[in-house]
């Protein structure tokens, strides 16, 4: 997925965030964490999930069920529609099973 057609994106549209993964999301992605440049137009958690799914089979498997994987921005739970504005650390993980 490329942003070749986006001609007038301001510099702030591409920025670096840390992604962290836990439990079987981590295993399917194959990474515990990574630093990525958010593509222009990636405004919500769901936008980010869809971009990640396009990267390779591991991500595609991890996010196969888009509504199952939970997300947190800066260590606070968020819904899929949540804005990425201000996000520095974005986490993805399965439903919690602690306690």
């Amino acid at each position: 997925m490329t942003q070749a057609l986006a001609t007038s994106a301001p510099a702030s549209d591409t920025r670096s965030v840390k992604l962290v993964y836990f439990a079987w999301v981590r295993e399917r992605v194959g990474l515990a964490d990574e630093q990525v440049e958010l593509p222009a137009g990636t405004e919500t958690v769901l936008d980010l999930v869809r971009w990640l799914k396009s990267r390779d089979e591991g991500y595609a498997a991890a996010f196969e069920n888009e509504t199952l994987v939970r997300a947190a921005i800066n260590q606070t739970h968020v819904k899929p529609g949540a804005s990425l504005a201000g996000a520095s650390e974005i986490a993805f993980f399965p439903p919690m099973t602690g306690g």
Binding site: V20, F22, A23, W24, A72, Q75, T76, H77, A91, F93, P94, P95, M96, T97, G98, G99
Partner: protein, 151 residues
């Protein structure tokens, strides 16, 4: 309100934690503790492996504890959650609530456990008695429903 939240690999001592919450106080009338233990699942389980999200685990339990403190007149609240490998019979989680009266202590401990189950970023994986690594434990609807009781 004295608040203790610890995420640790080590085991914990219930009596010592209750004593610490109560030390020097003579206004506490009720102490409720919940201890969650690792079950052996009929002998099939060798251990649970607990993964967590460092930083967020403490922060999220802190947010749940603040909600409990806003809802009930508490005198103290404690949550300890272990991570790493835990064998059957061993302790995993401890919640303690103290109050002047028993209803607040019971409800706050119950609430904290329900929310800890559904909101605290911990994941359990099974290590089986036959030496294989089992799957990640799936979240249960019953836990979601339990948490919804408080809404």
């Amino acid at each position: 309100m004295p608040l203790t939240i610890r995420i640790q690999r080590e085991d914990f001592d219930i009596a010592a934690e209750i004593a610490a919450l109560s030390a020097g106080r003579r206004d506490i009338g009720a102490v409720v503790s919940f201890t969650g233990l690792c079950r052996d699942e009929g002998g099939t389980l060798a251990a649970l492996e607990l993964e967590h999200y460092p930083g967020m685990a403490e922060a999220e339990i802190g947010r749940v504890a603040a909600e409990a403190n806003a809802r009930w007149p508490l005198m103290g609240l404690l949550a300890i959650h272990r991570y790493g490998r835990v064998a059957p019979g061993e302790q995993i989680v401890l919640v303690i609530a103290t109050s002047a009266h028993r209803r607040a202590a019971f409800e706050a401990a119950d609430f904290l456990m329900d929310y800890l189950k559904t909101r605290a970023p911990f994941w359990k994986r099974e290590h089986l008695a036959d030496g294989t690594i089992g799957g990640w434990v799936e979240a249960k609807d019953i836990d979601q429903k339990a948490a919804q009781r408080w809404e």
